[in-house]
């Protein structure tokens, strides 16, 4: 991969309360942009106090609709995350993999991602 960057979730959201899908989308957009450039991402959850599945689905879960599991495993890592939050993230990731096994959803996600990058 071509180098690495650190994304501070607190800085992106502007708060330690990371609960909304819209805020998760902001984190996602940075991760996805870096992955497209083959840059490794370290996501830091330092100072994050509250997390929801809605936030993590938008931030990380939807990556599985755009990128392969192999690329995500090689290119994304998380640090400074509490054990309970890691457990939540693991469930979000498992649900996301399951979700995108539905070919109709996968195709829709790919089409949407393509449209978004065309618009950029």
């Amino acid at each position: 991969m071509n180098g690495q960057i650190v994304i501070m979730v607190f800085e992106v959201v502007g708060s330690g309360i990371c609960v909304s899908s819209d805020d998760g989308q902001k984190v996602h957009d940075r991760i996805a942009a870096a992955l497209r450039e083959n840059i490794r991402i370290i996501i830091s959850f330092q100072n994050v106090e509250s997390l929801t599945s809605a936030f993590l689905n938008a931030a990380i879960g939807q990556l599985y609709g755009e990128f392969s599991e192999v690329l995500i495993r090689a290119g994304v890592s998380v640090v400074e995350m509490e054990q309970e939050d890691l457990a939540l993230l693991k469930r979000v990731v498992e649900m996301a993999k399951e979700y995108f096994r539905d070919p109709e959803r996968f195709k829709k996600a790919c089409d949407d991602a393509l449209e978004a990058s065309d618009a950029d």
Binding site: S21, A54, Q62, G65, S77, V78, V79, A87
Partner: protein, 289 residues
């Protein structure tokens, strides 16, 4: 139009009475709607959320709303949580720290909602919970709010209210939307023909989700259910004609003759719960993806 409102508890009967109120006023436009509360001997304060949602809908249809003959004990509680401020009363101070304010939020108000929860839960001095429980409780409420915004696609807002019962060590909190109900979502998005109560059960099971599009979903209500079972609390969900309740580990479902125009999620948590909510086995960040 004049409507008499009976006692409203957080139970099937209470929800049923509110649904009747919604049905009776559904066709009102440019009218004076008087809610006579002479027979309302009690309202569980958290039920201000569904009551407020129904009254908001009546007002949205350009009706004037008047609450009359409010009983002193009801007035005392509903003035403290700010509910009656919407209908001409002044606010009373909550000296016991037992109310969680009645509020209406726009779907985009997630940060405002988060501030409200943080202020009400921490700044207000209620309730006395272990740090682990408080974190789980706050996150559960955020899950409910996000779930309402994402699934109901409401344009009329999200309504919430809570009450802390010190002696019983119980805290009730309700979140209400006036959007698309669970049964309609399950039918339209998954093609399943289920009764309203079956649809709620479906949404709380396994990996079921009505989500479509690039962002996955389907965990919020399951996390809530797991937490409430562990906490020995209670969840009540009313969506369209369906009633779903989880209490003491048992699920009970019923149907209402008329639909609620949206979804109500009411949770009751056991604040005396001293579990740490810490994981038994360690999860390594390298094993996540």
């Amino acid at each position: 139009m004049k409507i008499f409102l009976q006692e409203i508890n957080s139970d099937y009967e209470g929800f049923s009475r509110l649904i009747q109120l919604a049905a009776q006023t559904a066709g009102c436009y440019f009218d004076d709607v008087e809610i006579d509360m002479s027979q309302t001997g009690w309202i569980d304060a958290n039920m201000c959320a569904p009551l407020g949602a129904i009254l908001y809908k009546i007002g949205r249809d350009i009706n004037s709303i008047q609450l009359t003959h409010v009983q002193p004990n009801v007035e005392a509680i509903l003035s403290k949580n700010g509910f009656l401020c919407n209908y001409g009363w002044s606010r009373k101070k909550d000296t016991h720290g037992s109310t969680i304010e009645y509020k209406r939020f726009e779907p985009k108000d997630d940060r405002y909602f988060a501030d409200y929860i943080e202020t009400q839960m921490i700044g207000n001095g209620i309730p006395e919970m272990s740090p682990g429980l408080l974190k789980k409780f706050r996150e559960s409420i955020y899950e409910i709010f996000s779930n309402s915004v994402i699934h109901s696609r409401t344009m009329l807002g999200i309504f919430s209210c809570g009450q802390y019962f010190h002696k019983k060590h119980r805290l009730d909190f309700s979140v209400v939307d006036l959007g698309i109900g669970i049964c309609t979502n399950v039918h339209d998005r998954r093609g399943l023909v289920l009764s309203a109560e079956e649809a709620i059960s479906w949404a709380l099971e396994g990996k079921n989700t009505t989500k479509l599009g690039p962002i996955p979903g389907g965990l919020g209500l399951k996390l809530l259910r797991e937490f409430i079972i562990e906490n020995d609390g209670r969840i009540q969900i009313v969506s369209e004609n369906g009633y779903w309740e989880l209490s003491e580990g048992q699920v009970n479902t019923r149907a209402f003759p008329e639909p609620f125009p949206g979804t109500i999620v009411n949770i009751e948590i056991n604040t005396a719960d001293s579990k740490s909510y810490r994981l038994v086995s360690e999860i390594r960040s390298e094993d996540i993806f």
